[in-house]
């Protein structure tokens, strides 16, 4: 039993090691000074396949979905989470506003969930908003996030706590950095 646990711990370490290294790499990139930057809120839309019967989720339900705690939609379809590459502003916004985790914490969470069998499928990672959109279009149980400008009518935007991205008190925003003279 102890041998089996040791192997699993080694595997966990190996899985976390590249992310940690990536996090270190991000840490090496110098942050722009506060004088040079200003932040601008850009709403982040939560999108699903058009055949999905769900139109609205609460923020807590969304958190369960993105953390893999909820595995199926009410129609029985398996939930497939679509994420952007680590470091992308959209992903950061989801980590911050929905998951309430850092990148490492999320990785650890999923590794643990997969290992224990609580989570069935790990999130799919796509490198472009178009890829995200097409993935969601093709997979009936997929859920992802996109900037509002990347949304089109091939996918459906969910209301979060009854609000759409353009509504006033919508909670999910990307903190974009705008260069100032």
């Amino acid at each position: 039993m102890s041998r089996r646990m040791t192997v699993l711990l080694i595997a966990l370490e190996l899985a976390l090691w590249p992310q940690a290294e990536a996090a270190d790499l991000f840490a090496m990139i110098p942050e722009p000074s506060a004088v040079e930057q200003n932040t601008q809120a850009d709403p982040l839309a939560i999108v699903v396949n058009r055949s999905n019967p769900v139109d609205e989720l609460s923020l807590s339900e969304l958190r369960k979905v993105f953390l893999g705690s909820r595995s199926h939609w009410p129609n029985g379809r398996r939930i497939t989470i679509v994420m952007r590459d680590p470091g992308e502003p959209e992903r950061k916004a989801i980590l911050r506003d929905v998951c309430g985790m850092t990148e490492d914490q999320l990785k650890t969470h999923f590794l643990r969930g997969l290992f224990t069998g609580e989570i069935l499928v790990s999130p799919k990672v796509l490198s472009s908003p178009i890829g995200v959109r097409k993935f969601i279009f093709n997979v009936p149980g997929a859920i992802g996030y996109l900037r509002v400008r990347d949304v089109d009518d091939t996918i459906k935007v969910l209301r979060i706590d009854g609000l759409l991205p353009d509504d006033k008190h919508y909670q999910l925003h990307i903190q974009s950095q705008v260069a100032m003279e």
């Binding site: 497939t80 499928v121 799919k124 490198s127 097409k134 093709n138 009936p140 149980g141 997929a142």
Partner: protein, 494 residues
């Protein structure tokens, strides 16, 4: 004298026959030209029909070829795009990279859209029931395959490879096989359609060949008929010419025989010494003189006709005062009118304009008409000569007319169109033993036309006939010429 007459008689037919020949040949040529023109028209119209038919066949061939090529091309494209749809889906199985999987899914969807469009186009083009049913089946099978494909793609993208393979094997493979069979069926139908078109084309080509053969036969038939008609027309003309010649010879012989008999008889009496006394001799002389003049007149008329026929007779047209010409004609014909027991009623409108013509021509023309009136004047024995001016309806100008009317036997309406033909003698006139050569009216008409005028006729059987000579009114230039001509002739006389 007898030999001279004989030679003159022999000479006449020789000089007239070629003229008659020319006239009749001209008529035959006219008929032949008309017939050939009709044949050409018929051949051209039928040729146009054949050309149109051949053009239609050619257009159909091109259309069929283009449709076959386009159809096969479309089928080929459909087959390729269907394979591409499936191929791209299966490519997605080969990778675990979600980005690549999405790309393959996208390729598969693009290809399936092209197939769907192609099937819709094919459905629109279908005309027959079998084709429509097949198009419907193909669209349905393709839709079924796409629904399986969507599930397969979704499973692949979700990462459930096992599930995707299972879906594909259980649903995708048979669904795609059905689509493949449908496309093969579409290809077979295209082939059958092309074969039918080819058969139709062959039938159309055969029809064209038959039509062409028919047209050739018809053309040959028509040409044969035309040649026969031309030959027939010529033969009839020749027969008519011969008949006219015979009638002319008989008529002239008859006209000559009477004075010749009188001349012979008078000459015999003188030769036999039966004539005694100066007064008797004088009477015989007068008879001989009258008969010889009569013969001379007949010969002159024939010669004049011959000269008008070959165009050697030319008239010098000048403005003439018809009153004086009519006076001279009245004087010239006074004797014959009186001897025949006729009365001439003369009516000349005052202030008649100058007429354009030739004095001798007008005289000859009017004398012929008066002779005719005497010959056919019947029992009433009255001839009316009326000179007047009238309007020409065709060009609103004026003309000078001289009409000669009798109240004689009249002319049958069937004869009216022939009375100006040379040597024409109405059967009714021949039966009534009224002698003549059939040249008088023909001669009068030719003379009138030579002077730029014409002769018209109004007649009714047993009521009488009115012949009118129409002459042009002399214009200003003609009058000046006339004045200068008159002065020059006057100066010559002086």
């Amino acid at each position: 004298m007898s030999s001279q007459l004989k030679s003159a008689f022999d000479h006449r037919p020789r000089s007239l026959v070629p003229n008659l020949d020319r006239f009749l040949i001209a008529t035959s040529r006219h008929n032949a030209s008309l017939l050939i023109f009709l044949v050409c028209c018929a051949v051209a119209s039928i040729g146009a029909v054949v050309i149109r038919d051949m053009e239609n066949t050619n257009a159909k061939t091109l259309e069929m070829y283009a449709a076959s090529v386009r159809g096969l091309q479309n089928i080929g494209e459909l087959q390729y795009e269907a394979q591409e749809t499936r191929r791209s889906t299966l490519y997605a199985l080969t990778t675990s990279d979600s980005n690549l999987q999405v790309e393959y899914a996208d390729q598969s969807r693009n290809a399936d859209q092209r197939v769907t469009n192609g099937i819709a186009e094919y459905t629109k083009q279908t005309r027959e029931v079998e084709e429509s049913a097949l198009a419907k089946r193909l669209a349905m099978d393709w839709e079924n395959y796409l629904s399986v494909r969507d599930e397969v793609l979704a499973s692949i993208l979700e990462g459930s490879i096992k599930e995707a393979v299972s879906y594909d094997l259980s649903g995708g493979v048979p669904a795609f096989e059905r689509v493949r069979l449908d496309l093969n069926e579409v290809k077979r139908l295209y082939g059958e359609d092309a074969s039918k078109s080819q058969a139709r084309l062959a039938a159309s080509s055969r029809r064209s060949t038959w039509r062409l053969a028919g047209i050739q036969g018809f053309t040959l038939l028509l040409s044969g008929a035309a040649i026969w008609a031309i030959q027939r027309s010529r033969m009839l003309n020749t027969i008519q010419l011969a008949k006219l010649q015979m009638e002319f010879v008989a008529s002239v012989s008859h006209e000559l025989r009477t004075p010749l008999a009188v001349l012979n008889s008078a000459a015999d009496n003188i030769a036999d010494g039966l004539i005694e006394g100066k007064s008797t001799l004088k009477r015989y002389g007068a008879i001989l003189q009258h008969q010889s003049r009569s013969m001379s007149h007949l010969v002159d008329e024939i010669l004049l006709f011959a000269s008008t026929e070959d165009g050697s007779q030319k008239y010098v047209l000048r403005p003439l005062q018809l009153t004086s010409i009519i006076d001279s004609i009245v004087k010239a014909t006074e004797g014959i009118i009186r001897d025949s027991g006729f009365v001439l009623e003369l009516k000349v409108e005052p202030n008649l304009p100058l007429a354009l013509g030739d004095e001798s021509g007008i005289s000859k023309c009017l004398q012929n008409l008066i002779s005719n009136a005497i010959k056919y004047g019947g029992e009433y024995r009255r001839i009316a000569l009326h000179a007047f001016q009238a309007d020409v309806m065709q060009n609103s100008s004026r003309e000078v007319c001289v009409s000669i009317a009798d109240r004689g036997i009249g002319i049958d309406s069937s004869d009216l169109e022939h009375i100006f033909d040379p040597f024409y003698r109405s059967p009714r006139v021949s039966a009534a033993q009224i002698h003549g050569t059939g040249l008088g009216l023909s001669l009068a008409k030719r003379i009138a036309e030579s002077m730029g005028g014409r002769i018209s006729v109004l007649s009714e059987v047993s009521v009488g006939s009115t012949f009118t000579l129409h002459l042009q009114v002399a214009k200003g230039d003609d009058k000046k010429a006339a004045t200068s001509s008159f002065r020059s002739s006057l100066s010559q006389k002086l």
